[in-house]
């Protein structure tokens, strides 16, 4: 026998079929048996819009840019997420905070432009791990479908989490129940 990669290869039976075998009766019954047995199994599908599939604890969805409890942006445009990104989906431009903008940005430098190309993003979560400022998180939402490619280039305005004081309801929704759950288990 020629060289083989594993010892699990089985020789194929190439004997000609008998008359009874060529009727396929037994084989059809066997197949129907498999089909029937599935009627009594637990369903793997969901009635999607009415019924939602629970996310895994570590589900990685659309990104959000975080704010602190006073509503200031956490991101300082340090570029660690962009350098960690294996798909090179993240680009940014930094700017200096002017006097009077202290309520908007937490530190003297901030991301004036921050863009994630969701067509490139593979949702690996390395940006989240690289972030030293607790600024980027992958949320529990999907990137919604879109008719054009243009809609998948997410600018900072779309990524930013709503303001925790001015838009409390939207903020709580964006945080999702995962954070609350995780806090409980901790």
């Amino acid at each position: 026998m020629s060289t083989q990669l594993t010892n699990r290869a089985l020789p194929v039976d190439r004997k000609p079929m008998t008359f009874v075998e060529s009727l396929y009766l037994w084989n059809i019954l066997k197949g129907m048996g498999v089909t029937l047995s599935h009627f009594f199994r637990k369903k793997v599908t969901y009635n999607f819009p009415e019924q939602k599939r629970p996310f895994s604890k570590v589900f990685r969805g659309l990104h959000v840019l975080n704010r602190d409890e006073e509503g200031r942006e956490n991101c300082t445009a340090c570029g660690l997420c962009a350098v960690a990104c294996p798909a090179e989906a993240i680009t940014m431009e930094a700017a200096e905070r002017l006097p009077g903008e202290e309520h908007l940005y937490r530190e003297e430098k901030y991301a004036a432009k921050y863009e994630i190309n969701m067509l490139r993003c593979i949702f690996c979560g390395l940006c989240e791990e690289a972030c030293p400022k607790d600024a980027i998180y992958l949320s529990e939402t999907f990137a919604p479908a879109n008719y054009g490619r243009k809609g998948f280039i997410y600018p900072k305005e779309e990524l930013l989490i709503p303001h925790p004081i001015n838009e409390k309801e939207a903020y709580d929704k964006a945080v999702g129940d995962r954070k609350i759950k995780n806090n409980k288990t901790n």
Binding site: T76, A77, C78, G79, L80, A82, V83, T91, M92, E93, A94, A95, E96, R97, L98, E101, E107, E108, K109, A112, K113, E115, N117, P132, K133, G148, R149, K150, I153, P155
Partner: protein, 373 residues
């Protein structure tokens, strides 16, 4: 003393560092002898700068153990010595990385240097090429046991129109003061006050208008002195360093350009493996302010090729060296036309809308507002 020895015995001294032996001329310091052997035995140096006279002896990061003083007197030196200030003797045996005592002392030195250093690397422009970052990463404690008390706080200061001083980040290595002393005709900045209160400053924020003052940025091992024309414009590791030159009547004109695409984001002098300015034609290749701050157009320079960056550096992440651009075959096939893209990212993206390299200072919200109007 070194002179006397030279007269009596113009021979070479044999010195062994980490079991590697080299013969060096009398008067050489241990640090320089180690550098002659190679990177693997050279002690780190935060304040010593071979191109500046009287530098060294301040940071204590180059401490080594002398196991045998010389052939004539082979007793070991009782304490660790600063290798940048100690000259070699014939038959000296030095332990650097092979000595537990040295490694332990260096962990202490890292902690001392970080006592007042804010860990604001995410907003610091020096991050990625910061010598203190490398030093604490390579020689610091593995378990984080950082100083928890209040650090020194200073206001940000503009030293002249081109240099930003973050005194909080300063480790008082005095390199910039020595540059001001030795490179520029008139010293306009120095160290004020003493001890814990010591700070680098120009007296009453006097602007520095010397032609070579920009070299302070290059000698600064941390992010205390940074280029205002590059401030917050890009992270170092996203820019592509290329060697370039131009005819300059003030300096050698041989520099490293840090590019983003075709834009020149920053101009610095060329660095050698010790993070010091390179010696070109027997002279340190300091560059003038004109080359550094005013020549931010690609047409100003003659490009020589990509700068060689150690692959251990984060700057090497771009893999731009030895890059071969693949041939564009589509226009050829399509009779000279470019292929129609489903989406041209340059038209959709909001980034790169402003020519950020041409701004005299950091971008602010104003910069982007103007663009939108």
């Amino acid at each position: 003393m070194a002179e006397e020895i030279k007269k009596e015995a113009p021979k070479l001294f044999k010195v062994t560092i980490d079991n590697k032996t080299i013969e060096v001329p009398p008067g050489t310091t241990i640090l320089n002898a180690a550098r002659m052997i190679g990177v693997e035995v050279a002690p780190p140096a935060m304040c010593y700068y071979s191109k500046l006279e009287e530098s060294g002896g301040r940071c204590r990061s180059c401490l080594v153990e002398v196991a045998a003083g010389s052939t004539a007197d082979p007793r070991p030196m009782p304490k660790l010595v600063a290798s940048c200030r100690t000259t070699v003797m014939d038959g000296m045996v030095v332990n650097n990385y092979s000595s537990e005592r040295v490694l332990d002392a260096r962990k202490g030195v890292v902690e001392f240097l970080l006592v007042n250093h804010p860990l604001d690397c995410p907003i610091c422009d020096q991050a990625g090429e910061c010598y203190l970052q490398d030093f604490s990463y390579e020689h610091g404690k593995t378990a984080a046991s950082r100083y928890e008390f209040k650090k020194r706080i200073f206001e940000l200061e503009d030293i002249g129109p081109y240099i930003k001083l973050h005194m909080t980040r300063c480790i008082l290595c005095y390199r910039c003061v020595l540059v001001a002393d030795q490179l520029t005709e008139k010293r306009v900045h120095g160290v004020l006050k003493r001890g814990d209160h010591a700070e680098i400053s120009t007296y009453i924020s006097k602007a520095i208008d010397n032609d070579f003052s920009g070299n302070m940025i290059d000698v600064c091992p941390v992010g205390a002195l940074t280029d205002r024309t590059f401030r917050f414009k890009n992270r170092v590791w996203f820019t592509k360093p290329v060697d370039a030159h131009r005819d300059c009547d003030k300096c050698c004109g041989k520099v490293t350009l840090w590019q983003r695409g075709e834009e020149v984001m920053r101009v610095t002098s060329r660095k050698d493996p010790w993070a010091e300015v390179q010696t070109i034609d027997g002279k340190p290749a300091w560059i003038c302010n004109d080359c550094r701050f005013h020549k931010k157009k690609i047409n100003d320079w003659v490009i020589e090729g990509p700068t060689v960056i150690s692959r251990h550096s984060v700057i090497a992440q771009g893999h731009y060296e030895g890059m071969i651009k693949p041939k564009e075959t589509l226009p050829e096939v399509m009779g000279g036309r470019d292929p129609k893209l489903l989406m041209d990212i340059r038209k959709v993206s909001g980034v790169n809308s402003v020519d950020i390299s041409q701004l005299p200072g950091p971008a602010t919200s104003e910069t982007f507002k103007k663009k939108e109007q």
